[in-house]
Structure formats: C-alpha cells, structure tokens
Symmetry: C2
Subunit: 113 residues, 2 copies
C-alpha cells in the first residue's frame, strides 16, 4: 500500500521556540509496541525542539537538510548538518536548535530501551 | 554524540539490478532488539532492490528523492515519489525499482512484528 504522511505543526515543541512540522510516517500503533514516533521533522528557521529527556526510550536524529545546533545530554553544543547522526542513550536528554534562515530537516525515530 | 553514517554498497541487492548504497544510521545492535536496519538507502539509476518477503518483521519505505516503482506483495506496481510511504504487513513481500536516470533516495526501517 502506498500512502502519504500525516502532517501536524507544533508550536513551542518541547518548550522550544517557533514551529516544528511533523510528517508522520508511521502511527504509534503501527510500530507494534517497539516505539512511538517515526517522522520526517522540519524545524523551521529560528525554531527549536526544546531540551527533553528520554526516560525509557531513545531518539537518534538524522540530519537530512540544513544546519543546526545539537545540544547533547551534557548540554554540550555541536553544529550539525546533512549526514550527521545525533545519538543519545536511554535516560538521556537532548535538544535541537535551528538558528539559520533555512529549514532544518531531520528524521526522528523514537524506540524503546 | 554526533557521528556520521556507515556506508556500504551492495550489488544486486535482494537479487535486484545494479547498485544500492546503504547509509546505516543505527547498527542492528543499537536497535535494542526491536529491529535490524535503519538506513538512508540510495537506489542508483536503473538499479533495484529485488522482491523479498519479511517473515517476522516489516519494512516501510519512505521516499525522500527521485522516482521509482514500488512492487507490493500482490505484485501490483505503483509509481512513487517524494513523500510517499510504502507499507507492507508482516509476512508480506515487496521490491523497489529505479528505472530513471536519477538516484532514488529512501529511508528504510526494518522492525519486528
């Protein structure tokens, strides 16, 4: 079966700034209990996903397009761009900031510990 | 932690034609037993991923760039392009053909039933 993603726009995602667009590829139900999010995510210019902790799951970010700042569990800040993989462990936190004038486009997958 | 993907090129993927490039985002070990592949996959021009069945897992394709033919479990053929999600159920098979002169770039996630 071929279908389109479901799109939703979140303002102030995880307490972040501006707007973040989620293009959901799978629903949580379709993930068969292994996770709860699989989406292409567009962090709009001068927007961010606020710092949040993954208590019982993890969420690698994979950068498709654009540039941003990955804030790791220890609050260290790393410039990221296309092809970068941002890994956190279960129990760790992260955020992602787009301080540029272009979209920052990533893949987000949340799966269980 | 920020890192790059691991890249490997497979000739005749699943019995298909030509070359397919896998940019692995997670290793199977890192998927905590929930799946075995999470990668950006480039199906090069006039190349394909051959028909294969997912007995105990499933693998949605999400098309990022380019155009191709998704062959579903029932062998029906659908033209696909950016933003399309190709879903199969556990126990079903699929293939993907790039008959164009451009790369076909997809996200592939294999996770358990």
């Amino acid at each position: 079966m071929v279908r389109k993603t479901t799109t939703r726009v979140v303002e102030g995602a995880r307490g972040g700034a501006g707007s973040v667009e989620f293009h959901d590829i799978l629903s949580a139900d379709e993930m068969n209990g292994h996770g709860r999010l699989y989406a292409k995510v567009v962090v709009r210019p001068h927007s961010s996903i606020g710092f949040h902790v993954h208590e019982n799951d993890t969420e690698p970010y994979y950068i498709l397009e654009g540039h941003g700042i990955f804030v790791d569990n220890d609050k260290s800040r790393t410039e990221v761009g296309p092809g970068d993989v941002c890994i956190i462990e279960v129990g760790q936190g992260h955020s992602l900031e787009n301080n540029s004038d272009e979209d920052l486009v990533i893949m987000a997958l949340v799966y269980n510990k």
